[in-house]
């Protein structure tokens, strides 16, 4: 169950901030999209996010959230337990200049990390976070992508194998229109279970889709082709 609390604030990039209540068996959570840099001051990270023997959270400090929120196009969605505990998050941004995908400028947009505290898993929080993040017309002009690297996955905490974790990721993102694509990008190609998934916005042109397809294989020259399949 969830209900909308607010949908009002516009940030520097014109993003709308939304807040919803997500009811779980562990109590109500507030899920809040497009959190601004000054939003994080009084928050704390739940102990289930952090450093563990076989796994470390991608974001471990509040300052990291602030830095991302200040970046152009940087977005953060948080799952909060009242009054101020972060139990889950999603960070998004444009690819860094040294990444292959930056060659297509602001067409490409990365959903960089989704993580839920070890103490709050199995409550569909990641799905709710993504729902709120992706509920935005902004994505219709983008090729949104995720890079799933198995060395970032909490296999110990989840009790899943890398193959099972990969499937879990596919199940998480598929309902939002994401699908797996192949690429020779070296980090993705490093392990079989690694996965790149994309969602092509409804206003992305066939030409842009084609440029992206060739870029996936490191090819700059683009022969004429009639297909729009990415």
């Amino acid at each position: 169950m969830e209900r909308l609390l607010t949908s009002s604030i516009h940030d520097k990039d014109g993003f709308v901030q939304k807040k919803v209540v997500h009811e779980t068996e562990k109590g109500n959570l507030i899920i809040c999209s497009n959190c601004q840099p000054d939003f994080f001051h009084d928050l704390v990270m739940d102990a289930g996010l952090g450093k563990f023997s076989h796994y470390s959270s991608i974001i471990q400090k509040l300052e990291s959230f602030q830095k991302i929120a200040r970046r152009e196009g940087g977005r953060i969605t948080l799952a909060l337990v009242e009054p101020n505990i972060i139990v889950g998050y999603n960070t998004c941004w444009y690819p860094a200049p040294d990444e292959r995908w930056s060659a297509l400028g602001t067409l490409m947009y990365e959903l960089a990390a989704v993580e839920v505290s070890r103490h709050y898993r199995g409550l569909h929080i990641a799905r709710r976070i993504l729902e709120l993040t992706l509920d935005d017309d902004f994505f219709e002009d983008k090729i949104a992508y995720i890079n799933g690297y198995s060395w970032h996955w909490d296999l110990e905490g989840s009790g899943l194998s890398a193959a099972q974790y990969r499937q879990m990721m596919m199940r998480l993102y598929s309902p939002f229109g994401f699908r797996e694509v192949y690429t020779n990008e070296p980090n993705i190609a490093l392990r079989d279970e690694n996965i790149m998934m994309i969602r092509v916005g409804s206003r992305v042109s066939p030409d842009d889709q084609r440029r992206f397809r060739y870029l996936r294989f490191g090819i700059k020259q683009q022969p004429q082709c009639n297909s729009a399949t990415v």
Binding site: L155, A162, Q164, E180, Y182, D192, Y214, I219, T229
Partner: protein, 188 residues
């Protein structure tokens, strides 16, 4: 899983190739594909898909739960240039094992189409809960495929000396290559 097909790859020379499951409408294109395989290699096909009747029979009985056949198709021409088949058993004793057979037309072998097809099968196997993929290759005849498999983490786990006969009756070794897909969690 199959809903993510076709999956596009682009070869080093800029050819756009689509990987997708075989459908009944592929019969004619597959007939042409198998006819273009060199005679020396046709000899070693376990299923004689070079025989039109056998191919027709097989394609009429497609069952992705038993055999998952994927073709590589040049997007512009529609020509089938590669075929990989993942065979699964319903027996509980070997349900975790899949056998893989891959064939690529000679003109496309240097473009790593076979490598992408093997990787695609590995990912499919992983998503199907398969723990072990086995590929049998004829030594001295399928060396490019052996090399592609090695690069994708297959290991030679066996060799059957003088196991198969070529067209001239000469005995050749059969290499058994295996890729293990770990089921347990581990750190990297």
């Amino acid at each position: 899983m199959l809903k993510d097909y076709p999956k596009a790859i682009v070869t080093q020379d800029g050819t756009s190739v689509l990987l997708r499951p075989v459908t009944r409408s592929d019969e004619e294109a597959l007939k042409k594909f198998f006819s273009l395989i060199p005679d020396a290699e046709k000899w070693f096909l376990i299923e004689k898909f070079t025989d039109s009747e056998l191919l027709h029979e097989w394609i009429e009985q497609l069952n992705y739960d038993r055999v998952l056949p994927i073709v590589a198709v040049v997007e512009d021409s529609g020509e089938i240039i590669g075929n990989v088949r993942l065979y699964r058993s319903s027996s509980p004793s070997v349900k975790h094992v899949a056998h893989m057979r891959v064939t690529v037309l000679p003109a496309y072998r240097h473009l790593k189409v076979g490598g992408w097809m093997i990787l695609d099968s590995v990912k499919q196997a992983m998503d199907l809960g398969i723990e072990k993929i086995i590929a049998e290759m004829v030594e001295g005849l399928e060396d490019p495929a052996v090399n592609a498999a090695l690069k994708l983490g297959f290991r030679q786990e066996g060799l059957l000396p003088n196991y198969v006969k070529d067209r001239r009756g000469r005995l050749r070794n059969l290499i058994i290559m295996v890729k293990n897909l770990p089921r347990e969690w581990s750190d990297f």
